[in-house]
Each structure stands twice: as structure tokens, then as C-alpha cells.
Amino acid sequence: MFRRILIANRGEIALRILRACHELQIETVCVFSEEDRGAVYLNLADRTICIGGPFPRDSYLKSDRIIAAAEVTGADAIHPGYGFLAENAAFAEKCRACKIEFIGPGADAMRLLGDKASARALAKKTKIPTVPGSDGVFENDSEALRIAERTGFPLMIKATAGGGGRGMRIVHDKTDLLTAIKQAQQEAQGAFKSTDLYIEKYLERPRHVEVQIMADHDGTVVHLGERDCTLQRRYQKLVEESPSPAIDGRTRKDLCAAAVKLARAAKYTSAGTVEFLVNSKGKFYFMEVNTRIQVEHPVTEMTTGIDLIKMQIRIAAGESLDINQRSIRPRGHAIECRVNAEDPEAKFRPCAGRIEQFHPPGGFGVRVETYGHEGCRVSPRYDSLLAKVIVHQPTRPEAIRCMQRCLHEFTIEPIKTTLPFLHKVISHPNFVAGTVDTGFVERTF
């Protein structure tokens, strides 16, 4: 086991890793930027070391300084958390070249799965469904027609250079295809000076469902069930839950098996997440892989009773998984809400400043992951995530009731947060019924 781990992150995830290290009786070094000097979570580290200025590019993203910090403090491993350098394969390689273990997957697996094109290719090779389409630009109308027949309708014409909906057309029927291509080409030419188009199946009201996997160096790969992260706003997850209210037992089994198969094919190690889109008929399509621990990992910890960070560290230290697929028995229903320091009434503008009042919720089945406390400063330089509220109850209706209670109980003043917004979202009849899709929040609020 490692003797001393350097934590190359900040805020709630740094605190989360510090706690796991304490329980594993591993010494800790926590880096910090000048902006984070004096943060209370740093008190829990055995040692702290300043690595640069407030901006991430001057500190938390400065790989050489972080490795130097590990060297001068005698750390034998680095935990990157999420964000910053967590999915940087070059950083992982550099750490290992300096004889400091990077707590995460191998650099090859990171590169293979981190790149969308190569991950999609691997998924196709291992017979995992991907969103059907043209696999790149089509050359002419007849090729487009051929691909469209194969893809099926409705489908989407998308400009490779596209964005904001321009150069994009939804086509419901073969007879509309060529007209739609012409319109899209004109629009794309005008907007992006490029007429390159590709075809992708149009998924109506898809859900985002992801599978947590864990793999050791002996080749053992297990999944820990799925998380449904359909509630998003501008591609930022707001609420995550497990199990997904929208898939049946059969789909769940297939989805989880697909995730394990892909991880095996990539010779993956450590914690990872395989993300899928699921359409309204329960058919799923591979989307991408996150080669790191995720913000929403506590949802899975609550249902499985397994500490994912401790497990990640043990695997990195060369230990074999002490669980097998059969011993993992998720129980009850867990929901996480991300409480951001943002003003929902001012276009979710980030809010910074000193927290004067801070009363987090507690009680049966409630966990709050946060670096916040009374007197704590919220910096404008970093991600606005202030706290994660996670609840675990026997059933989904009870979990929703418990989360409503928690969001109501949570007092943070005077900084504006997304607490009232989250309360509205999880109390909406469509969320309660489990019928939302990834576009729900933007359409509804």
C-alpha cells in the first residue's frame, strides 16, 4: 500500500480523498493555490504545499509543479480527483515515469477510451450499440440516401462545423432527405464556410444512463450498477440517481454487461464510467467513457455500500478486488443533487463570497459532501459546485421526499445557490413520474 498520497485537487473532492486516505492510514499531502490558502479542509492533510497562483492554469493544471510537490514531500502516489488533470494521459505517464503512481487507469486505456472516435470504434468492434449514422462525412446525395436507409428515420443531418442548431435538420421521412441536405448545406456554408455534413440517428427524448465499473490489474472487471443522470442543464448534470427509473431489469443487465465488455476490451483498470443514451423504447447506445472517478460517485456508494475511492486507491496499489459481481448487491434508491453557488434567477451566474450561515441537512439516509462551512470563502475562480446532497431510502418515492426535505432544510446565506431551483426540478410531476429526458430542464424551467 502507498505510504503517502498527494491530492492534486481542491474543494469537496480533495476532502473526500483526504478522508479515504485517513481510513486507509495513508499519509496525505494536499496541494493548494494561493486562492485556497487557509481553506479548512486543508487542516485534515498531514502536509500542504502551495503550488501556484489562483488560476487553475497557474496551479492545479501545472503538472510539473504537482509532480515536483510529490517529489519533495516524498509522496508515492497522486490522486487527481476529477477535472483538472484527471483525464490527462500525458500527466499519468509523467507521474509514473517519476516513479509516482497515478491513481487511475493506464495511460493507454485513458487514450483509447478518452478519444470519442477510438472509443466508438472499440464499441463497434465489441458489438456494443453506438448511435447509428455515417461514421464521418458523406460525399454526395446517393451516399447520403444509402446511409439514411441503413440508419433509419427519424435521423439528423449535422454540419461537422455546426453548433447552436445551425446546419442541423431533423428528417422524419426519406422523401424529405435531399431537401433537408440542401438547406443544411446552405446554412452551413453561410455560417461556417463548410458544407461537410454527416448523418446521425435522431434519438427522441433520450435519457442519460451510465454504468460504474471497477477493474483491477488481474483483469477482474465488475460493474456497480447504473446511474441515471438525465436531469441536465446545458450538458451539466444537476441530479443523478440509482437505479434508473426508466429501464427494466433486462435493459439494466444488457447495459451493465456492455460496460464491462468494453472495459475488458480496453484492458481498463481503476474506476471508470461508461455513458449511454437510452431512447424512449429502452434501446441504448454507447456515448463515451469517463476514465476517472465522477462527481456523482456517492450515488453508487450509497446503494452498494462500497467506498469507491478507497477501492480505487487499493487497486492502484496493486491489490486485487475483494468483491466479485455476485457480492455487489445494490439496495434501495439513492439520489444526488448538486448544489451550485449560482443564482438561478440571474441565468445561473456564479456567486462568490463569504458564507455567513451554513446549516447542511442531516439524518437518516442523508450524506452531504461539501467543503463549505460558516466563514468559508467561495472563490469565483473555480467550479461553482458547493455541495452534493445524497440521500438513500428504501424506495424512490421516499428518496424524493427525503431530498425535498433536505433541500428545504439546507441553509446557505448570503450566497445564492441552486437549492430552490433543485427543489422545483425534483418536485416536478415528470421527474416524480420518472419520465424526463435530457432536454427536460431546458424546455421546462
Partner: protein, 142 residues
């Protein structure tokens, strides 16, 4: 004063063999914050009470300027164990005077004074690990 940064980090990439110093694993961590001995670290009091707490303007006369470390690494006062220190208390420096070396990831970075004046105090020990922004020297400017 803080202009010495990333570029300095590669200035002596070839000097590795010549300088020939061992990495000071034994003294590793001296400069960084020790954990409070109490089982209940108090929020304010226990926070980052390291030698790097520095900018202690109160105790310094206003005519002193700090030379701070622009990086994380190990401090060396002399180019090799048999050579004299780059500077002593009382030494005169100009902006181009090398005052020490900071080693990071086997790269030996020369740190320059970046100002003219007289060294009043050396704030760190040879082979001590240092953090970003840590004051290394007090200099009375000319």
C-alpha cells in the same frame, strides 16, 4: 520580482550530471505544513502554519524585499556541495545575480535576484523542500 517562472525550469537541463547532488529524501517535507498534533485541529488557528506563512510584513522593516520561490522544489544554496554559497548575508546582488538553485523533477533552476541590493537574511536551509511563493531571501534594495 516574480518574473522568473516556467522558462527558468529548463535553463540547466544539462547541468544535471555536473552538479551531481543527491535528492534530499531524508529532509523531504520540512518546509511543508505539519499536521496539528491535537486530534481536533481548530479551523482558523491550525490553518497552514508553515514557514511559508510568510508575508509577515509586520516584523520586517519596510526597506526589505523578499525573493520568493517561483516554483515547488528543493532549495540549494550553492552550485555543488564543495562550492561556496551563491550568496551570503551581506552579499551585494544585482538583477542577474544567481542567488540559489531550485531543483524540481531533476531540473536545476537558477533563481536570480531580479533586483539590486544587499542580502539581509537567508530564510531557508540548504536542501530544504520549498513551496510556490515561499520567501527565500530578504534583500535591502539599493
Amino acid at each position: 520580482m516574480m518574473v522568473a517562472n516556467d522558462l527558468v525550469e529548463i535553463s540547466l537541463r544539462d547541468g544535471d550530471v555536473e552538479v551531481n547532488l543527491r535528492r534530499p529524501t531524508a529532509t523531504a517535507g520540512e518546509a511543508v505544513t505539519a499536521r496539528p498534533a491535537s486530534p481536533n485541529p481548530t479551523g482558523e488557528a491550525g490553518a497552514v502554519a508553515s514557514s511559508a506563512e510568510a508575508p509577515a510584513a509586520d516584523e520586517q522593516e519596510v526597506d526589505h524585499v523578499e525573493i520568493k520561490s517561483p516554483m515547488v522544489g528543493t532549495f540549494y544554496a550553492s552550485p555543488d556541495p564543495d562550492s561556496p554559497q551563491f550568496v551570503q548575508v551581506g552579499s551585494s546582488v544585482n538583477p542577474n545575480t544567481v542567488v540559489c538553485i531550485v531543483e524540481a523533477m531533476k531540473v536545476f533552476n537558477e533563481i536570480k535576484a531580479e533586483l539590486s541590493g544587499t542580502v539581509q537574511k537567508i530564510l531557508v536551509k540548504n536542501e530544504q523542500p520549498i513551496e510556490y511563493g515561499q520567501p527565500l531571501f530578504l534583500v535591502r534594495p539599493e
